[in-house]
Amino acid sequence: MKKVLALVLALCMVFALCACSVSTSAPKAEEETAAPTEITLWTYPIGGWGTQETVDALMAAFEADTGIKVTVEYLTYADGDDKVNTAIEGNAAPDLIMEGPERLVANWGAKGKMVNIADLFDDTDKKEINPAALAACFADDATAYEYPLVMTAHCMAINKTVFEAADAMQYIDEATHTWKSVEDFEKAIAAVYEHTGAQVGAVYCVGQGGDQGTRALVNNLCGGTFTNPEHTEYTWGSEENIAALKKLYDNPAIAFDSGIAGGDEIALFYNGTLNVAFCWNIAQQLNPNTANTGAAKTASGDDIMFLAFPADGAAKLQGGIWGFGIFDNGDAARIEAAKTFIKYFCDSAKTADAVKAANYFAVRDTAEGADLSTIWADNDIMAEYNVLMPLLGDYYQVTTGWAEARTAWWNMLQAVGASDGSVEAISAAVDQYVNQANGK
């Protein structure tokens, strides 16, 4: 009897397992036939779009207006890509995803995983949307994989209090938030170095975090570029970039630091260890530290000033563009619901709420007649930061092989930092990694 019971028990356990394995596929069949009133959105931490409280309010309004329920999952930059890629491989990608063209257009779009949403852009939209943002969302004239919502310009920052004490503000055009010249940048750094006796800035390169800062710094110093205008080749092996790297290497106040990433550099800037941060944007300016000393302040209360990167002539800032794309899950009804979502948040009277939630700047001045140009009028810092937006440069993150190129970049910086600093050694390091980026 005992054995019979044991046998039954064992069989139950086995069948329970089988039941587990089939239970995952059963609801899928139901989902396929269900009404498209439920869609999923995965979002990277783009300002308030990474915060449940903010997003819940937006989704509740959307559901009330359209009857479409949105289930949201929050990704991090540390493992978000892995999650999305795993989901794609497992045919479980979300309906909507919020991120930039480097992922939506150049990566998942190029691999045929996204829906072409070019039909969402009418002529008015094309006129209203910032040209650089619009171009970045299109893979070609007739194919768009992203609808942009917000953008910003990445920049650098200085500890203004320390710069004033070192008499280095004379090298800065405070009204335009720019350096007067590269030479003036070098003079200012030297003045602060002399005043404090400590390292002023760091070319951080332990990983890719915050690499937009080091890229913009190097590219602007001597007029180099990261890619060609067609976005078909990485050009950071040029003489201009090698000269810029040499300038940075030779500057005693700036160290190549293979021990920190962009986030660490910001922390060191907040706590006063460094007096220059190359990894900066409006998000940091608004909420610079956890010491609660207020916007545009370091932990000790010093004033922070945001600045364009040093360049002779107009600096070209690296842009950040974020919007929505739709994964092709083969369900026309859900794709249609996702398109409704995009139009609702990116091109309607509700767009202002979506932009404010992101804490960045709208990619357009008006959306379906709603004025977006004044949504930050009540915020002095946001209004002031607008001075940098015309400096937005080429959005080259859509170049093929972007993931490899980013990795090659910080590896190259490490190699330069570990070299003897001769032009030959820097050139060798740059050549090795730019070739890697170009797949040679």
């Binding site: 044991a6 064992a10 397992l17 160290a255 293979s258 021990g259 260890t273 590896n411 190699a415 570990a418």
Partner: protein
Amino acid sequence: MSTKKISISQKSRRLMIRETTTSYLFLLPFLIFFVMFVVYPMFMCVYTSFFDATMGREDIFIGFDNYKTLFNDEVFWVALKNTLIIVIVSVPVTCAFSLWVASAISKMHVAATSAFRCIFYLPVVTGSVAVTMVWKWMYNNYYGIFNYLGNKTGLLEQNINWLGDERYALGCIILILLTTSVGQPIVLYVSALDNVDKSLVEAAEVDGATELQAFWKIKWPQMMPTTLYILVITTINSFQCFALIQLLTLGGPNNSTMTIMYYIYYNAFKLYKYGYGNAMGVILAIIIAILSAVQFKMGQEK
């Protein structure tokens, strides 16, 4: 008589079959998990290593090309060298240090022995991320305690970028690995020392053996199975050093802390070269298997 014998034998065989079947049925759920999550992935690892496998398209069969690429990949050789350095340094040091500490604390009062066991075991039970982050602060280039103490005592003229300088980074990683690896071996050695036949030790002492001779001739051979186990698990852990690299250096600076395990992760999950990553996994498994077999063989001989 013979008919009865046959009948008993058949009954016994039937009973045996039933019991065996029942046993296997009880094992079945776990076997299914084992096959699904261990055997199948292992098979797929070997299988995929012969393909150009990446995200978003069908795998392309390329035979041994991944292996050929691997052996021409400079970073792979650097990673292999770094991994071997970690193993060669950390395994003997961990074993010797653990044995020394265990020998010292096993002679103490029971309460003191327990207290030391707890202290040395703490890093094992503490979250590895928390431990690593504390080490990261201690190594910090700008305000880390090592630089602070070095400057205060005059040992350092200027701050050292411990994790950002290729001369020191691997050593720093090994130091952390050692501190987090010794806990379990110490506990195992203390238990092994407790289990040594004390009458043999006493007899040797009566015969005039020194403490060292008693240890070497009596205790050490009896602790050999424990030593063998510690050697194998420490070797495997050292080969699989990953979290420290991921949290501290990402393989840098200049690949000076790149290990095979991290390079596998980097290729498979950052560059999405699944086939290439799996080829490295196969090589790593072969190396670990050979070393473990050698260790077992040596242990058995002793």
